[in-house]
């Protein structure tokens, strides 16, 4: 062993004589790797989470193709300049103007179109159509309920959800990235407005039906709208439809005066059972029963006929004026 070791020493001694000294033949364990990686990880941790990169900053990005594909994907014909306007937020347009002014470009061609007008138009169209749609599909629901369902469909969250899933996120010109929910919702309205300008109000109506109204599918309508004072409302509805006074009756109870008490209440009018409900006390049970009765009267039950998303409402039913 010592002989071998001595031989190795001799070789290492002889090396500088044989070689020029610039090329290193023997391989080392790279001891710089681990500290470097550790340092990099440390710096990343210190910097905190990074903001998402806008897709538009990548090399493979062609805005014109993206706009073209956006329309084609949704089976719609858009005028591309209009669509680009729809994707331009007012804050971004102002920023651009500032930038141009700083660069010293003349005032006359500073005007950059923004989507405010298109968004207003689109919001108007969407509201009118959704009101008509809800009126048509839930005719028995009173006005207050229809209003609640309409405002759910037109809420910023719903519109933003639809907007992101149509792929507007990367196309929007906004001052912040990722765009806020308000921006997304506003852009969706503007897209509807641009569609109405490009291929007519009829297509815009169908767009609203296919992408916004379909959000009602499989939703629990009671989650969207629950009458606040169900008994009172039930009384009014029964008086309106001449059903006789609603009368709550105890159908059964169990575990009275215990923690697990349960009451079963049915609501009758003219000896007809309108609805049943349960609760931990009689008051809750009566209210649940009243809600159940209202669901039956308004045709809002879970097992109701599914919404028809294929209908084409006639334009005269959609109240665009006023």
């Amino acid at each position: 062993m010592s002989l071998i070791r001595g031989f190795a020493v001799a070789i290492t001694m002889a090396k500088p004589m044989n070689r020029t000294g610039t090329v290193q033949t023997c391989r080392h364990i790279k001891r710089w790797v681990s500290p470097t990686l550790r340092e990099l990880a440390h710096r990343v941790q210190k910097q905190g989470p990074q903001k998402p990169e806008p897709r538009a900053g990548f090399i493979e990005w062609n805005y014109r193709s993206e706009l073209f594909a956006f329309g084609k994907r949704l089976n719609e014909e858009f005028q591309l300049p209009l669509l680009q306007t729809a994707f331009t937020e007012r804050t971004y347009a102002h920023q651009e103007q500032e930038r141009q002014r700083k660069l010293g470009i003349a005032e006359s061609d500073l005007h950059t179109a923004d989507n405010v007008e298109l968004a207003a138009k689109g919001a108007h169209i969407a509201k009118a159509y959704i009101e008509a749609y809800v009126q048509h599909s839930l005719p028995k629901v009173p006005a207050i309920g229809q209003k609640a369902i309409t405002s759910y469909l037109l809420s910023t969250e719903t519109l933003a959800h639809v907007s992101t899933h149509l792929g507007t996120k990367d196309l929007i010109f906004a001052s912040e990235y990722p765009p806020s929910n308000e921006t997304l919702a506003n852009t969706l309205n503007a897209v509807i407005g641009a569609l109405a300008d490009s291929s007519g109000v009829e297509r815009a109506f169908l767009f609203v039906r296919d992408f916004i109204c379909t959000q009602l599918n499989q939703k629990d309508l009671l989650d969207i709208w629950t009458p606040e004072q169900p008994l009172q409302l039930l009384g009014e509805v029964c008086a309106q439809r001449k059903l006789g006074d609603p009368e709550p009756r105890l159908l059964g109870d169990c575990g009275k005066n215990t923690v697990l008490s349960a009451f079963h209440v049915g609501i009758y009018s003219n000896r007809q059972l309108l609805g049943k409900g349960f609760g931990e006390d009689v008051k809750t049970a009566t209210e649940t029963a009243a809600i159940d009765a209202l669901q039956t009267l308004f045709d809002l039950h879970d097992n109701r006929r599914p919404f028809d998303f294929g209908i084409q409402l006639e334009t005269k039913h959609v109240r665009l004026e006023a």
Binding site: E60, W61, A69, L166, L251, A262
Partner: protein
């Protein structure tokens, strides 16, 4: 499912944005084909680009196609979906037909399917059509006219026989047997007397 799938994101099969209910929207929004112009591993990708890419783009105007040549790198397909997911696919040494099959898969799915473990093959938003269980559900009609408290109903359904009851029963049986034997003997004696 193997151990490597334990930490895979899991979920249910879902159509994003109620897709197909109003109209069908292809969920693949853009695809990037990266390849090398002279490396052999990109040969299938080059053939695909030469022969089929224009037709593909014409047939699918809703998908933005980017082609990115890069020197001495493996050919790669990158698909971006409307739900924001991005799927990266290595196509090293793949033939032209393999690449068109992969692209067909990317086109027809609604997200990166390989990154999701399906918990079930179906999903429903309304799991129960009966509603919640209550003590009044499926109650027998006799229970309707019952007056409480009732001794009959309050007793448990299966009371095991106690030792005393067993003894009493045994005793009674014995007595019966004894009576039976005595009875038979008596009849015989009567017959003999006759």
């Amino acid at each position: 499912m193997s151990n490597s799938h334990l930490f895979l994101k899991s979920g249910f099969p879902r159509a994003p944005l109620q897709n197909g209910l109003g109209r069908y929207v292809c969920q693949l929004q853009r695809i990037t084909l990266k390849f090398c112009k002279n490396n052999g591993s990109s040969r299938g990708m080059r053939d695909f680009i030469e022969n089929h890419l224009v037709d593909f783009a014409k047939e699918n105007p809703g998908i933005v196609v980017y082609v990115k040549p890069r020197r001495h790198r493996t050919p790669v397909l990158v698909a971006e979906y409307l739900n924001g997911q991005r799927e990266w696919l290595n196509c090293r040494n793949n033939s032209q037909s393999e690449i068109s099959k992969w692209i067909d898969l990317l086109k027809t799915q609604n997200g990166s399917s390989s990154s999701l473990r399906l918990r079930k093959m179906w999903h429903t938003d309304v799991p129960s059509i009966q509603g919640p269980w209550t003590p009044f559900l499926l109650r027998s009609p006799e229970a309707q006219n019952q007056t409480y408290p009732s001794r009959e109903i309050s007793t448990p359904l299966d009371v095991p026989q106690s030792a005393t009851e067993k003894l009493i029963e045994l005793f009674k049986q014995q007595k019966l047997e004894a009576a039976g034997e005595g009875g038979v003997d008596g009849v015989l004696e009567q017959k003999r007397a006759e």
